[in-house]
Amino acid sequence: MPCKVMTITSGKGGVGKTTTTANLGTGLAMAGHKVCLIDADIGLRNLDVVLGLENRIVYDITHVAGGQCRLKQALIRDKRTENLYLLPAPQTKEKDAVSPEEMQEVVGQLREEFEYVLIDSPAGIEHGFRNAIAGADSALVVTTPEVAAVRDADRIIGLLEAAELHNPKLILNRLRPQMVKRGDMMGTEDVLDFLAIELVGVIPDDENIIVSTNKGEPVVLDSKSRSGQAYRNIVRRLEGEEVPFLPLEEESLMQRLRRAITGRSS
């Protein structure tokens, strides 16, 4: 199988790019694929923390790009999931320590070893973003149902198009079905109306994400959590399977009654 290289990006910070990268990577590796995750956030690395690998870093992507170590020396094998590797970012260097050409070169080497390479893009639309898309075949755009996040996603979609990364796919993160129902949050359809790209997943807002990030264990490993289920569904869609979208959580009649009387959701 030819290697697929995907960049996870968003424009706006804090919408869940890193969490998404960690979970999709873990999910794909659980499904038996050989996966490498690249942290492209030079100078502000986070992906290692979300995966619980922060104590294992010796070399990073700038050492590989600069020829100070071999690729294999910099790759960190995940401690839980077989077939999952991380190529970390440096925490102390300037953000232009890697050039788009060097990035392409590194990704090219990874293509020979892996089935999937997921690149975690930094926020913004400048150098770091250019690096993150330099070696990619496709892009996943993460957004939340908020005005600023959707606006930035729209900008990013335009930039991806300009960079000839066509047909980016959308992941709608932190959806709160109760709020959508109440008319206080944009729903999946609303966001799709604005962005007009293909939807590949909807992740419900879930406290389990915070718990799992605290522990450094991606939530996709938790078979009971709704967000974990949503991530596993995206993994199957990335593999080419048709998977129906999770239904929004239905409110019970009692919940509706209570809300109508008290004016609050329970």
Binding site: R151, R155, R256, A260
Partner: protein
């Protein structure tokens, strides 16, 4: 009272979502209108070639721009016409 029943039946009431959608709509119109001069040039060339099928226009005086106001964006084109073709001709233009 009506609201009470609407909520019981789980119908969407007019919440802040509508405000979000209206604001986003306007923001995106403005953001997307921030187009490159290259795009406007391409648009201009295409317009010239289409309009020239119907009338003779003055290329040099041709002006296309996006005009922004608080609530809308309009594509404004000023196209000096030199000569109109006879109406009988336009019907046959393919």
């Amino acid at each position: 009272m009506f609201d009470f029943f609407r909520q019981i039946w789980g119908k969407e009431s007019e919440g802040s979502k509508e405000a979000a959608k209206e604001r986003l709509q306007l923001i995106l119109v403005h953001d997307r209108a921030d187009v490159s001069p290259q795009l406007l040039d391409n648009l201009k060339e295409d317009l010239i070639s289409v309009i020239s099928k119907y009338m003779e226009i003055d290329d040099s005086g041709f002006d296309v721009n996006l005009r922004r106001s608080d609530s809308s964006v309009a594509l404004v084109a000023n196209i000096p016409v030199r000569k109109l073709k006879r109406t009988g001709d336009t019907a046959r233009i393919k």
